[in-house]
Structure formats: structure tokens, C-alpha cells
Symmetry: D3
Subunit: 155 residues, 6 copies
């Protein structure tokens, strides 16, 4: 049992994007769109929770390395009448990638949306017959050999 | 923006179970079954990470109340050739339910499995074409009016 | 060096409210009012940060007891052309009061506002000639002898 | 909602100092000076709490970047008969400044002093008529283009 | 893999004391006694670190339950020319004991002393030929059937 | 009270190994060897807890710097009929050493073993007459002037 030893790997620019969705009731999505969720804005709250969680990845996932994240950005949109879509992008200049950070940000954002709209999703028995988090995936990864190359591409 | 005020709610026994799955390659599942994952046992590591995360729920999900969890149990099994299934059960005696704790435990367990088998799931570009976390749901909730009633049921 | 021993104190309902202000430029307040702060809504972000911080009080303030908070609510309003006012109310049923939790919530909310509007407050040297956090105080404390008495008062 | 993207900024030496005060009763200041605070030395405890908090800044303030702090120093002095003054200096070599870290250190130090002397500041109703944290400000910021320049200045 | 299920256990008063020692050089002990440790008072710092760590036990030790600690007290004394002795006492009213909290407090206090005096313990190669933490034990445990019985014993 | 200022120190490869032991009953060691500990595998759990704790060192030990750990590895073996031995190795490229991280990993691993086998170590009074953590020491430290030198040695 050991972390992967990254001592001899070079620090390069890394980026990863992870996405996922949460299935909610049509009525809940409508309340979100109308700004009527009683506990506060679920999307805004989810973004903040996701960003904070990304920075705690190495204390949540046992073998993750602590990394100096240079950016975390979370985009959330209503995909359709029953689906909210979260996309988290994390960047660093480090010796290993940030896909776990992007995945943690996405998962915690989705969980926070659930928590914010709990009261509208529960049935009379306090259960959640239709609520579900689906399709948490890594959709993009960038790893550049040398930082200068990256700037060139941008130009 | 405020937590739900649970000051006047009675403390009662509460239990919640959340489940979810992670899709992996057939080859990865085979390596797990054979105990050959280089970073260590992914299922054992996932259970521990999930239990620890359940206890940090109120610091991850902004409006969750801190609760005195009396039990967290995580069961993980290989469902089929490409699927690992996680089920987390959380108990407390408190003024509000523990479904968010069960969901956080399940999500962090699944993310930990991903991290433990990353090297087998990546393609040549370092991406994850087939890995995905699916179907995170609350499958059971118990809330009992009075603790004595609970013991009676058990008898 | 020891925490105060509260082992023999009864658990009673407790509530505390702490307030404080942050002095900002007129221009910054205008941007907040118009929803034009580039990093996102500073007041919403401050509320979430404050609520999360309240729940971590006993890990920040060395001799604070861990308490089962039953509510944290943060209200933020623009007081005048250069002042934002934060009021945090925390509740619990516990053996000691929650004034430190309310103070931590208020302080972290105010610090978060500062962070969100940093770029508008800095002068050309990157300094903050006029930004200041002022008047962090406890403005209200409730401690009731017995919970039933509380409900009676409400009726 | 996103952190500022600092991926392309150079790592340079950075330093920030934040100060603030807490207003206490004359009697409380006398007890501090005489080393008679029952819970232990409030100034020493405040320094340690402030240093620890500085290191947790990026988990408290949502959009702060995690930074490799190279130094945190906290100086506390009795300013006059009713005022304690805290000054926190934080250093790093990083892509963004450390003013939020210095502010968090100062705020948590001041809050810790409050907690350590609570019993002397309370009135008969358990309230704090005169206690207040005032004037939390950034009083100094250094950002050097290249580390060598820094050493030259020192020489 | 699961925490022990304490859902049906009664909440009773619990107390545990754990002790341990750290072996230091005679010269280091002399510097501690004379108040000349450059980084600050190691015993005071160790007490604060130990108290804070006790409160984080359930996030450090995977299967520990989160408990509402009602007191943590740490006593440190110079035992002889090469030994510092730490004794941590933790109290709660809960469904399980606090020996792990007392052990964590003692271990982190001892580790903090090490950190505070590192520079005096290192040899020319930067190693620690004589420094060692020894004898971390639980020396006392109290568990009372009913709280009233406890008060009677005290009288 | 201040952390040591490492702002002007170069970032070099650093490694430290700390070891320690826990004394258990012969019967407990037998149960570990036979995989019969009811709470789960204590050695596996201890490794994970130790790795996670190493990454939280700077939030546990007040004056430790936050360091970008590049590897943490924990080896645990049954030394004899009553002793389990833990060895934690931590690596970084940083401006200061990682001996505290290795010590924290070792201490938390040992404490986790204790927690996992508690029920077998307790006597009828719930006490631990023979359980003890002993000999936590730093047994190895590496600090290399330049990374290239390190690779040369390896070759």
C-alpha cells in the first residue's frame, strides 16, 4: 500500500474536466429555474461546494497526492426538464494529473444539488424514488510536455 | 441562505442506505478479483475512504447538519464483468436524516475505486473512455418515532 | 491548559448572533449591487463560507467544544455606500454556548467578501488602502433553562 | 463561479501582513498581563491557532488557491489598557499573493483571544457589552519579480 | 468493514486518560526548562495541538465514532533529565469510550514537542540518534452506568 | 512564535523514514495473522490511515510547513508474537524535511491498529493492561543538494 512515487516526474501543466448529471423531478427543475428553492440557490451553492472539495481531494481519496491547484471552475446548466449537468475543470502545474480533483468537484457539486432540493424530491415516506446521480466521467485531459509549448499553442 | 432549523425536532433513530456503481474494464475487474491491483486492494481502500468521508459530510455539503453517526457500514461487491457495486448504510439518533451521509460515503467509495485502478482504465492518451460512475441513489430510509418501537420490531 | 469541563452541565437550547461589517469602496458596492463582480456573487459565497466555517469552529478555536449545531443562518445586507453588514445566528441544544460559532461564521463571511472583491479594492501597488473589517460583536445570546419553556414563549 | 486562473503566472516571492485589534475590559487586560487567565495563556494560544488557520485558508475561503506557505509569524502585544493588537505575516513563493492567509491568521488569532477570556468579558446575562474585534486590515504586501532581486535588497 | 454499531447503546459518562513520553537530550530539556527554545514554548504548543487533535480523532482513525467531547485536558511535565511526560484526559457523555481520543491527543502532543525542539535533537547529518517516543498507553478508563450515580460518588 | 522561515531555502529532494511498534496480546496477533479481526483488516486500515494522516501533518503539528508530498509508503509487519512494526517513508521536493510527516504517518498507523483490535486487548474492566505503542523514531533521512545528483547515485 503506497502512493505512486512521483518524485522523479517533471512538473508540467495539467488539466482535467469531469462531468456528471443529477436526475430531478420536473417540478424541482422548474423551482430551480424560477429561483424558488427555499434553502437558497442550489447551483451557486453546488459550485462553491465543488470548488472547496476539489482542494480537499488528497484528504478524501487515500492515495491522491496533494497538488497546488492553479484553477478550479465549475459550470452547471439545466440540461432538460429532469436533468442538471455539472462540468468541473481543474488545472495545475504538477507531477501528476488532476482527474481525481475534477471528479471529486463534480461529485460533491452533484451531491450538494441533491441536498439543496431534498424537500422537493422526497415522497411521503421520505424516500427519493426518482432522484439519481448519473454518468460521472472524465471527458478531457491535457498534459503538456513543457510549459512553453503550451503558450505557443495558445498563441 | 440558511440551514434548515432542526432545533425543535426530536432526536430519533435514523438510517439511510445509498448505492451506486462504477463501470470498469473487464480486465480491471479481473485484476481486482485476482488481488493484483498494484496500488493495493481497491475495495478495502474504498470502504475506509467512504467511512471517513461520511463523517466529514457536514464540512463538504454546505447546509448539512453535523450529526453523531452511530454506525457507517459499506458493502462492495463485483456485480458483473464490468461493474462494481457500493452500498453504504449510515445510522444516527438525531434530529434529521442521514441520506446525505450515505450518499457521500457511496460517492467517495466509488471515486476511490477509480483512483485505485486508474492505470488500468486509462487509454494511450491518458483518458478514460469507458470508466463511469452511475446510479447513485438512496435505496432505503428509516425514521422511527421512538427508539423503543425500534427494539420491539427487532424482537 | 484545558477546555472548560462541561460534563455536568445540562443540555439546553442555546442561540447566539454575531455581527460585523466590511468597509469597501463605493465603486465596489455598486458592482455588488449590479451583480457585476467577476469572481461571482460575493454575498452568496460569503454566506456559504460562513456556514461551513461555523461547523468547523472546534477545529479552529483550540478550546471550543464540538457542538451539534441545529441551525446556522447568515444575513448579509448593504448597509450604506461603503459598508456591508453580516449577521450570523447559530443554534444548538448543548452544554455550552455558541457565541464562538456565530463569531467564526461572521468573521469568515466577511473575509470571503474581501476575497471576492479583492481586485476592485487593490490600488496600483496591490495594497488595500481603505478595505477593513470592523465591529465584530456578539449582539444576542439566548440560553433557556428548559426546552419546554422555550416553546411556551413562542406560543 | 471560478477561482482566478493563475496557471500562467510566474512563481515569485510574496509576503503580506495583516493586523487587527480586540477590545477587552481593563480588568481582562490586567489578568492577561499577570498571567492569570484560567484557561491558559491567551496570546500564546492565539498565535498557534492563527498559524494553523493560515494553513487552512484555501479550505475556508472558497476561491483561495492552496499555497505552499514558507513562513507564518504572528506578533501579539497589549496596545493599551483595553486593546490587544495582532499582526500576522505570511510568506510564500507562489503564483498569487498571501493577503487572505494573513487576514485569516489575524482573524482567527483575535477570535481565539476572545474565546480564552470569555468568562471575564461576559456580563450577568452572559452577553459581551464591550468586547469587539476592530480594524482588520492588510498593512503590507511584497511581491518581487525575481527571487534574486529580493536577496539583493536584503544585502 | 464497518464501524461498531453503537445505535442501541445508552449515552453514559465516559473518561479516559492516556500517557506517553518523549526522550530528548539533556541539553534540550535544559533549554525547555530555561524557556529558550527558539520556535516557542514546546509544552504549551504541544498541549494546544493535542487538544485540537483529540477533536479530530474520528477523521484520523477510520472506524472511530464522532463524539461530543465535554472536556480535554493535557498535562505535561519534565519527568527527568531526558524525559518529557504527557497525560491527556478526555471526557464525554456518549455511547462509546474515548480512549482513542486520549491516545490521539497524547501522540500528537508528543509529536509536537519533537517538532518544536527538532533543531536541538538533530546530529550533523540531520538525524535523530536519541529522540524517541515511548510508552503510549491508556492508564485510566471510567464508564458510569448512569449520570446520577456519578454525582453521588463525587459527593 | 513563528514557523521557521524557509523562504530562501532551495527546493531539494527529501526523504524520511520513521518506525514504531505496538505491543499486543499473543492472541490478538494470532487473530491478525488468521484474518479474523471482526472490524476488518487492521494492517491495511492502518496503512491507509497513516497515508492520509501524513498529508494532514501541517494541520496537526502547529509549526509544520505544508509540503507537496510526492510519495508516502507504509510497511507493516508482524515482528514477533506480541509486536507489530510500522515503517513509514515520505518523500518530497521541498525547502524543508519530511521527518514530521513520516512520524505522523507512523503514529496514526499504530493508533489505528490499536483501534482495530481494541476489543481483544481490553480486560474485563475495559482497560488495556498490556497494549502499548513503543519506540517511535526517525531511522533514515535523505537530503540531496541537487536532484541530478540523486539520479546519478541511483544509476
Amino acid at each position: 500500500m503506497a502512493m505512486v512515487d512521483i518524485s522523479d516526474k517533471p512538473e508540467v501543466f495539467r488539466e482535467a474536466t469531469a462531468t456528471g448529471t443529477i436526475k430531478l423531478k420536473t417540478e424541482t427543475i422548474r423551482l430551480i429555474n424560477e429561483g424558488k428553492i427555499a434553502k437558497g440557490d442550489p447551483l451557486q451553492t453546488a459550485k462553491i461546494a465543488g470548488i472547496l472539495a476539489a482542494k480537499r481531494t488528497s484528504t478524501l481519496i487515500p492515495l491522491c497526492h496533494p497538488l497546488p491547484l492553479t484553477n478550479v471552475e465549475i459550470k452547471i446548466r439545466i440540461l432538460d426538464k429532469t436533468t442538471v449537468h455539472v462540468a468541473s475543470t481543474v488545472k495545475t502545474k504538477a507531477q501528476t494529473g488532476v482527474e481525481m480533483e475534477a471528479l471529486v468537484a463534480t461529485a460533491v457539486s452533484l451531491l450538494t444539488i441533491w441536498d439543496m432540493v431534498k424537500q422537493y424530491e422526497k415522497d411521503v415516506k421520505g424516500e427519493y424514488p426518482s432522484t439519481a446521480i448519473e454518468g460521472i466521467r472524465v471527458v478531457k485531459k491535457i498534459k503538456e510536455g513543457i510549459p512553453s509549448e503550451r503558450k505557443r499553442k495558445k498563441a
